[in-house]
């Protein structure tokens, strides 16, 4: 099943921050949806995958471009 693709623009977000924005986005998403988080916090490259793995979703891609991290996650359950 192809899910929807959505962007979460969490650039410049210190609080709640990119991971909290992703968790909120995941709650609103359906299984199969892909969420791309944009973050200017390099910590996101580590803490987003850690949470995604712990809960059992899926990381599809992590890239960095001009100081902005793009982390794409699929809601798996």
């Amino acid at each position: 099943m192809m899910g929807e693709k959505r962007k979460i623009d969490a650039r410049g977000s210190f609080c709640p921050g990119p991971l909290m924005e992703l968790i909120a986005g995941m709650k609103a998403a359906n299984v199969g949806d892909e969420l791309e988080v944009l973050s200017t916090d390099k910590g996101s490259a580590a803490d987003i995958p850690e949470w995604v793995k712990k809960v059992g979703h899926e990381i599809l891609a992590t890239t960095e471009e001009n100081g902005v991290w793009h982390i794409t996650v699929r809601k798996a359950k």
């Binding site: 979460i8 623009d9 969490a10 650039r11 410049g12 977000s13 210190f14 609080c15 709640p16 921050g17 990119p18 991971l19 909290m20 924005e21 968790i23 909120a24 709650k27 609103a28 910590g43 803490d47 850690e50 949470w51 712990k54 809960v55």
Partner: protein
């Protein structure tokens, strides 16, 4: 120029008064008109609910008549909007009145949602409404000891509330001479005790010093009320005798129903504060989808930016400045010490050691708020 403000809470009120001052001549001559449509004739100072829950403020201290807070030039109606007709530049209210606008501002706030987590509403105390805060106070007074678990929904409003209620509960039980009978356990959705890294760096050792335990990467999944167990999405569980929840929140139903934004969050331009795709519709406060703290100070700074910009649009036909993402939050570190965090889109906060002076400033602000809502501060 017809300006319609939907919502008479923190954001709408500060903006309305700010605009009425800047445009007092235009209001007199009829070049501009400001209408405010709200759902209540009362204005609540929501931050006071935290103090109601621990018995240091009474609910009646949190309310003023909305009309008494507004500049005389503002046409105020207690008549909530039900339909947004953006293509016609009109809104329709509950009473059936239709208001035309040239500029629309949406500041309808958000609501706490306990229902999203099975068992939460039935088994947890919270303080996000007057009724629940009073109920929590009574429960705390009756509590004889045991394990108190603090749990945090996502997304939530007031990012400091989880830490503040925890420190305040520590002092509450200490003052009652029963801190040794109470185990305080704090849980938090991400991998540290607060989303602001510098605040987390300060709060974690503070928890250690006060004997407060904590678990991070903990997102509530369900509450087993029979066995008094809270389970997380991450697969762990924790027992409680008293569960205190910072509830998740959503924007208002009317926003969703009108298709303005999923879960009531309106897609908003981060610097101009207009609704995406709508040049003359502005959004502020809790109902934006911006990735910044849902707090009164956010609504306040956004309102100041919009006040300048909308007044300038009336006077010279152009906005004059960008919103920079500014947020200022006090952090109560117990019943008599506090610190604060100030940050924007580019600069993280650098909180200082809590002091009594900052706490007393917050206590004063709880009263000064009314001057701030009137636009005097």
């Amino acid at each position: 120029m017809k300006i319609v403000i939907v919502g008479g809470g923190m954001g709408g009120t500060i903006l309305g008064n700010n605009l009425a001052r800047r445009l007092h001549r235009e209001l007199k001559t009829g070049k501009a008109r400001i209408t405010m449509l709200s759902a209540s004739d009362k204005h609540m100072y929501q931050p006071g609910l935290l103090y109601v829950a621990v018995g240091s403020m009474m609910p009646d201290e949190l309310y003023r008549d909305q009309a008494s807070l507004l500049e005389p030039g503002i046409g105020f109606h207690v008549d909530p909007v039900e339909t947004f007709m953006l293509d016609k530049r009109q809104v329709k209210t509950k009473s059936g009145a239709v208001h035309d606008y040239d500029i629309l501002v949406i500041a309808t706030g958000s609501r706490a949602i306990m229902q999203g987590i099975p068992g939460l509403a039935e088994n947890a105390e919270t303080f996000y409404t007057e009724e629940t805060a009073v109920k929590m106070l009574k429960r705390l007074r009756e509590f004889q000891g045991g394990r108190v678990v603090i749990t945090v929904g996502v997304p939530h409003k007031c990012p400091m509330a989880p830490l503040e209620i925890t420190f305040m509960l520590h002092d509450f039980f200490k003052e009652r001479g029963m801190r040794d009978k109470v185990q305080l356990h704090y849980t938090y959705p991400i991998g540290r005790v607060h989303s602001l890294e510098n605040v987390a760096k300060w709060a974690a050792p503070e928890f250690d010093r006060l004997g407060i335990t904590y678990e991070t990467l903990f997102n509530m999944k369900e509450v087993d009320g029979k066995n008094k167990v809270l389970k997380s999405e991450e697969g762990s569980s924790t027992k409680f005798d008293l569960l205190v929840a910072i509830p998740a929140h959503k924007g208002m139903e009317v926003v969703e129903k009108n298709g303005l934004g999923q879960n009531g969050w309106i897609p908003t331009n981060r610097t101009r504060l207009n609704m995406e795709g709508q040049e003359n519709v502005f959004v502020l406060g809790d109902t934006t989808n911006l990735p910044i703290s849902k707090a009164g100070s956010t609504a306040h700074f956004e309102a100041e930016t919009l006040g300048e910009n909308i007044a300038a649009m009336v006077k010279v036909g152009s906005a004059v400045r960008d919103y920079d993402g500014k947020v200022f939050c006090f952090i109560e570190a117990g019943k008599d010490r506090a610190t604060y965090a100030m940050f924007n889109y580019t600069t993280p906060p650098d909180p200082k050691e809590p002091t009594r002076a900052v706490h007393w400033f917050k206590v004063a602000y709880n009263k000064l708020y009314w001057a701030s809502a009137r636009g005097l501060l």
